[in-house]
């Protein structure tokens, strides 16, 4: 769990602030926060103090919202309230719960269960939002942590990272305390005999000081270790320490073999430590030569701490100013004109936004949807309570008649509904806990920070808030019912129940209309997500989704010291895999579409004229081996694909994508044209120029929704050692199989290991799984919304059915008269269903109106469907009206079957 300072849950403060008048807002929040910290300092457990805070915040909010009108008066109630303590309130509520369960177990059970379903959904969604979006990041003073970014709209690049050069200049910023540079990297760790490929991170020493985190054991990396030629020291993760070292304190000073070199462990980080969304097992020193930094490769991330008293806007201005010193410091690499043309800017973003930016909207959407489910559940509970209030009308009228004050009747009603809400809240917490466990274990979309999801004080306080709000709202409604039905009226009505008070019916009908409207909004929302899901499913990723297995092989560079050795190994392994029965084709590639981010490289394109002072095109780049296109099912449009000799020796073969041709060589034959990555000396010479030998179709590269970008595939062999050239030691292997690729996984692994037992076999996936992962967020939201919508529809139907039955049962005698006078059963049924449909239509109209407005907020999540999609609205409206008709028809049929004699006797 993250360390939380002595400040109360921020979201309760925000809610409370809304309820308070402006002039007292600050002082009241301050006082409450002071009382909160005082309690924490007394050593009370923070969950208890959290609940205490939520409780009192709710009471203060109520005093200022409900009590506003009667403030100058001194009421005895307030004086009583002043001395009553939380303990007494709880005791009172417990007694009420016991009484309720004893006297009307069925009613209590149904209302509590209904509320529990609604609250459970809302609590679980809130706990997600809280853990991922609200809870402060577990670093010191997390609000001051920012990540540093560049954007260059003039080059068509929206966000990119830092280079060593930009890191060095931004470290000078006075508005920043310090900047830490980090970069993800996969390394091979050899412990015992078995090598494994694990996630590591290269970091500067400042990385740890910026985040303000101390290791659990030992020390962080220091400046000496991150200097060029420094000692090989490494900090390891808590997981690695637990699993590989059994949490032994002797781990410090042990040496690890990483990528064939020996490294000494100097520290162990705490369990929770990682940059959100970027877990790592090892932190290795990032070594920069200040005299000769890389300037033009913006492939590292930077985290910075804002200086005290500076805000992001001030820091951004200084970063921008420092950016423009880059051309002065490194005139060979960057020119002023280039900065201008690219509209190059530097800016900072909060670290949290970085981690959770893309799940922010889905999570809020889910919370909103689940809150709608809760509203519908409350509607049902309200209906049940109204029915009971009607039944108890006489009791209350008698109480009032013999002198009870309105206030004490109100207290009875409130205590009852609060008790019901509390039961519902308890049930909801249980349901939510189950849901959260399931979510945390499956974590379908790899949410960052999901470890924090759980029943922490904030979630308990949220539950308490729901209970108080639901209990008070339901109680207030029931109380009004008693008050509005005047004494005589109640007694008379109680005496003869043939007719229903028109107003009472209207309130109940209004509740149903609201439920229908809300269910409709839910159905439209989930319908749109479902259409998105279908549309994404229909996207052709450009490669085959069936019968392709991919995995990664990483060669230890010590055993395979040069390109030739590595290349030979891959040839042998390809032959070995091809020999496995059921394998059709084998290929290799540096990065896989939809799984890895492709390298984006500044590229020379023959015939493409770059105006002076402008950056040449940056193009997505992969390196591929023989068989890659065939095995992935990427159609070859012209020319030839790679052959074995392209990897063995320098043939200069390149294959470009259709989008590449469309953008750069729309006219004429692309075959034979030159293309090459720029190297440090500028334009590549003839001997380094690749020649296009083929054109392939586009693939969806980074997401299913983006339009294909130009892509160039180079052959594996290189003319000279080029920087940014292919890393032959780490390749993804693609295997096309005759039938189910999963079944071949084991034979293929055996074949790989028969050649060399020490090579880690990593990330086996089918291409179907790659596509599935690319759709994970959409699937996640779709499933949750669909689930919510189904629950909403069920609850809404039950509510509708209950109300219509109730109204019909009170019209039994009227129906009897009609039938005695000659109306037939069909006409009676029609009448009731027509009344139901009238209510339903009103609900549908309101629902459609709200949905038209609310679904606009979903815009960014939708794909291939408009928020105003007519088909979705039509289907949902039909479903809703049929449900309404069905819910009315069942009680109508029952009523019309009662013999008139009995109906007339019905009282």
């Amino acid at each position: 769990m993250s360390p939380r300072g002595g400040s109360p849950p921020r979201w309760i403060e925000r809610l409370l602030a809304v309820c308070l008048p402006r002039e007292s807002r600050e002082s009241i929040l301050g006082d409450l926060s002071e009382l909160y910290s005082a309690r924490i300092q007394e050593g009370r457990p923070s969950p208890v103090v959290g609940v205490w805070y939520g409780w009192h915040a709710a009471r203060v909010a109520l005093a200022y919202t409900l009590g506003g009108r009667r403030r100058p008066r001194i009421s005895s109630q307030e004086k009583a309230g002043a001395t009553r303590t939380l303990g007494k309130d709880l005791g009172h509520a417990a007694a009420q719960v016991r009484r309720l369960i004893r006297h009307s177990p069925g009613f209590t059970g149904v209302v509590a269960a209904t509320l529990a379903v609604g609250m459970g959904a809302s609590i679980a969604a809130f706990s997600l939002v809280d853990a991922v979006l609200l809870e402060p990041l577990p670093f010191r003073d997390p609000d001051r942590l920012v990540s540093l970014w560049h954007s260059a709209p003039g080059m068509g690049i929206e966000d990119f990272w830092q280079s060593e050069g930009s890191y060095l200049i931004y470290r000078e910023a006075r508005t920043l305390d310090d900047v830490g540079l980090y970069s993800e990297e996969k390394v091979t760790l050899s412990l015992d005999a078995s090598p494994s490929r694990i996630q590591a991170m290269r970091v500067t020493a400042s990385f740890f000081t910026v985040l303000g985190v101390s290791p659990r054991l030992g020390r962080p990396l220091n400046e000496a270790e991150t200097a060029v030629g420094g000692p090989n020291s490494v900090v390891i993760s808590h997981d690695l320490w637990s699993i590989r070292f059994g949490r032994s304190t002797n781990v410090l000073g042990r040496s690890l073999h990483i990528d064939g070199e020996s490294w000494t462990v100097v520290g162990v980080m705490p369990r929770w430590f990682s940059i959100p969304g970027m877990p790592a097992e090892l932190w290795l020193p990032y070594r920069i030569d200040p005299a000769d930094p890389q300037v033009a490769s913006f492939s590292h991330r930077a985290v910075a701490r804002l200086g005290v008293g500076y805000d992001q806007a001030t820091a951004d201005r200084e970063l921008d100013r420092l950016l423009h010193t880059l051309p002065e410091l490194y005139p060979d690499m960057v020119s002023h004109g280039m900065l201008e043309d690219a509209e190059w800017r530097a800016y900072s973003r909060s670290l949290r936004h970085d981690a959770v930016g893309n799940v922010r909207r889905p999570l809020w959407l889910i919370l909103a949807a689940m809150t709608l489910v809760l509203l519908i559940a409350c509607g049902n509970a309200a209906n049940l309570i109204l029915v009971r209030a009607h039944a108890r009308g006489k009791e209350m009228a008698v109480r009032l008649a013999i002198g009870a004050r309105t206030a004490s009747v109100r207290a009875i009603v409130l205590a009852e509904t609060l008790a019901l809400a509390a039961l519902g809240g308890a049930g909801g917490l249980c349901l939510a806990w189950i849901g959260m466990r399931a979510l945390r274990l499956s974590n379908p979309i790899e949410l960052p920070l999901i470890r924090n999801v759980g029943l922490d004080p904030t979630v308990v306080a949220y539950t308490a808030l729901l209970v108080v709000v639901a209990g008070l709202a339901l109680g207030e409604m029931a109380h009004r019912r008693h008050r509005s039905s005047s004494l005589i009226c109640s007694l008379r009505e109680g005496g003869r129940s043939g007719e229903l008070g028109a107003r009472r019916q209207r309130l109940r009908q209004a509740l149903v209309v609201a439920q229908i409207a809300i269910s409709l909004v839910m159905l439209v929302g989930s319908g749109l997500m479902y259409r998105t899901f279908r549309a994404l499913n229909g996207v052709d990723p450009g490669f085959s989704r069936e019968e392709v297995l991919t995995f990664r092989l990483a060669l230890p560079s010590l055993r395979y010291p040069d390109r030739a050795a590595a290349s030979r190994y891959f040839e042998e392994v390809a032959d070995a895999i091809a020999a496995v029965p059921g394998v059709v084709d084998v290929g290799g590639v540096s990065t896989l579409p939809l799984q890895d981010i492709p390298s984006v490289v500044v590229t020379f394109v023959e015939g493409h004229v770059t105006p002076a002072d402008e950056m040449p095109p940056t193009i997505r780049t992969r390196h591929a081996r023989e068989g890659f296109f065939r095995s992935m099912g990427i159609p070859l449009l012209r020319g030839r694909a790679f052959e074995r000799r392209d990897a063995e020796e320098w043939t200069g073969a390149a294959v470009v994508s259709r989008a590449f041709v469309d953008r750069y060589w729309p006219n004429g034959d692309p075959i034979g044209k030159g293309v090459a990555p720029y190297n440090d000396d500028g334009i590549p010479g003839d001997r380094e120029l690749y020649r296009v030998v083929g054109v392939v179709d586009d693939v969806r590269d980074t997401s299913l929704t983006e339009e294909p970008e130009p892509l160039v595939y180079y052959s594996m062999a290189v003319p000279v050692s080029l920087p940014g050239g292919p890393e032959p030691w780490n390749l993804a292997i693609t295997v096309r199989t005759q039938s189910r690729p999963e079944a071949l996984l084991e034979p293929i692994r055996q074949a790989v290991w028969a050649l060399d037992r020490d090579i880690p076999f990593v990330l086996p996936r089918t291409t179907a799984a790659l596509v599935g992962e690319a759709m994970a967020v959409t699937s996640f939201v779709t499933y949750l919304l669909l689930g919510g919508a189904i629950v909403a529809l069920l609850l809404g139907t039950v509510g509708m059915y209950g109300v219509v039955s109730y109204i019909v049962s009170h019209r039994t005698s009227e129906i009897g008269v009609r039938m005695a006078l000659g109306a037939d059963a069909g006409a009676v049924q029609q009448m009731v269903v027509r009344d139901g449909l009238l209510m339903g239509s009103l609900g549908v109209v309101i629902g459609v109106g709200s949905a038209l407005f609310l679904t606009k907020l979903m815009g960014a999540l939708l794909f291939g469907v408009s928020p105003l999609d007519g088909a979705t609205y039509a289907v949902v409206t039909t479903v809703m009206l049929s449900t309404v008709a069905l819910a009315s028809w069942v009680p109508a049929r029952r009523a019309s079957r009662v013999p008139p004699t009995e109906a007339l006797r019905h009282e």
Partner: protein, 107 residues
Amino acid sequence: MTYVGELEQMVLWAVHHLAGEGYGAKVIAMLEERVGRRVTPGALFTTVDRLEAKGLVTSRLADPDPVRGGRRKRYLALTDSGFEILRTTRADWLRLWEGSPIATEGL
């Protein structure tokens, strides 16, 4: 003459006792410490508002306080009529008890 209730009297006393340095959280702590009375924050805030509406106390916002998350305190002080009420109620009580030796005996 304005009527003041029991809690209001206590708050007036605390404000007087704290001599211009009193504010919500401190008044609550003071009352608990002195008479063991746990005043809920909600009750205290409304009471203070009421006393201000009656013209018995005044308040001023202080400078931001980093300890409270940068929020300003609302310092309370008695007005003349607040002080007058406090004085007369005290005198009333003292007179009642002093003039009643029998009632005092069992206490």
